[in-house]
Symmetry: C2
Subunit: 238 residues, 2 copies
């Protein structure tokens, strides 16, 4: 995923779209492999689009498709693919339904939102009409979370389902340093399952959430059994 916008990089706005998309993809069996946040700078956006579309099955972008001068995502995606871009009639017609008086209200700035790279397929936007688009394996969506979420919900059913990624977790109230040795043995004994250890500290007490992920339900269950036995042996008096 590529999140586009100075606003996220300044720390002023927390990126809600990345966690939303990650969870929505996981539910469809598509693990997110990388996330990049880049500024509103054309060469950075073009470089990120080209790097990730060559590397991954799907690339999703968030932000930079509104009407203002810093909304340059569509032009950058067109540049990344080396295709033309212009106002497209079907996109203009969709936008026009948003205005009582489209001849007046659909001004030059708003028409920017109908600029679609050649060869792209539109992504519906029931919230505020201005469409996203898919070009090749790159899916371009709005940055406003409500619109982004609606676009994701329209888009994902059209992408091929992968194998669902299953996950389970166990909380262990021991310091990570005690967990680490036995955990490595469990991880080595269950190579089909990806096991992560996420430490926390609450009121001075250390603990960790151990999360197991995999596509095979039986392998996942076996790993969780081993993790529960490990937790019990850590909790038992020496």
């Amino acid at each position: 995923m590529i999140t586009i916008g100075d606003e996220i990089l300044s720390g002023r706005t927390q990126d809600a779209n990345m966690p939303f998309l990650a969870q929505a993809l996981a539910a469809k069996g598509i693990p997110m492999r990388e996330a990049r946040t880049v500024p509103d700078v054309a060469e950075e956006i073009v470089a990120a689009v080209n790097a990730l579309r060559a590397k991954y099955t799907h690339v999703f972008t968030s932000g930079g498709i509104g009407p203002t001068h810093d909304d340059i995502t569509a032009d950058c995606v067109a540049a990344a693919f080396g295709v033309g871009i212009d106002v497209r009639e079907d996109a203009r017609a969709i936008l026009a339904t948003n205005y009582q008086n489209p001849d007046v209200d659909l001004n030059e700035a708003r028409l920017r939102m109908a600029r679609i790279p050649d060869g792209a397929t539109l992504i519906d936007n029931p919230v505020s009409k201005a469409p996203g688009f898919s070009l090749g394996n790159v899916h371009v969506m709005a940055g406003v979370p409500k619109i982004f979420q609606t676009m994701v919900e329209h888009l994902l059913p059209k992408l091929a389902d992968g194998l669902a990624v299953l996950s389970d977790a166990i909380r262990i109230d021991e310091p990570e340093g005690r967990i680490a040795g036995p955990l490595r043995k469990v991880a080595e004994a269950h190579p089909e399952v990806s096991i992560g250890c996420y430490p926390f500290q609450v009121d001075g007490a250390f603990g960790a959430n151990v999360v197991a992920r995999g596509t095979d339900p039986e392998a996942l269950a076996a790993a969780m059994t081993a993790l529960r036995e490990m937790a019990a042996s850590l909790a038992a008096p020496a």
Copy 2:
């Protein structure tokens, strides 16, 4: 910045460290230029470290320096720089102060946290002792937010101060499509100031926060004056 961890990419955990660092850097006058989130996969971490350390003045990493098998950040940073890595005595001594009985409690897993790449400088960790480190322009810190934040607070004063980035904002309760045309003119008239437009929708009403950023206080004030005049003219009856 590089955030390391499957946990963030799965959407299960929201990355709190990126916004914290972005704000802390901005206060020191260092704008964050790019953020990447990569999985707990060695080749991905090495590639991200090498890509960003060549591209930017400073690179900050979060996560993957604990005692468990999936904590591979230190090894990856050493590999990225092509230097060796081993348990370092000063780091081991710091860790030992955490345990009443270090000969027993400082087990093999915990000793992983004293593995420091050759040539690195330690970053203090008053919360749980296990240090971070700086190697060249790469600053490696913990993923647990409380520890990450403490490390950032210790590290940043040692980095050279840049010019402080100033910002100001105005809220305009008009749809972005009405704002965009006049806003472009303001942006073009104030090239020293970076002006972003961040639309929102609340209860069906559209509006936008317009944020201006720059290093010259007078240029910023002039841009804000122009933005206020623009907002007033938009609100005035036609």
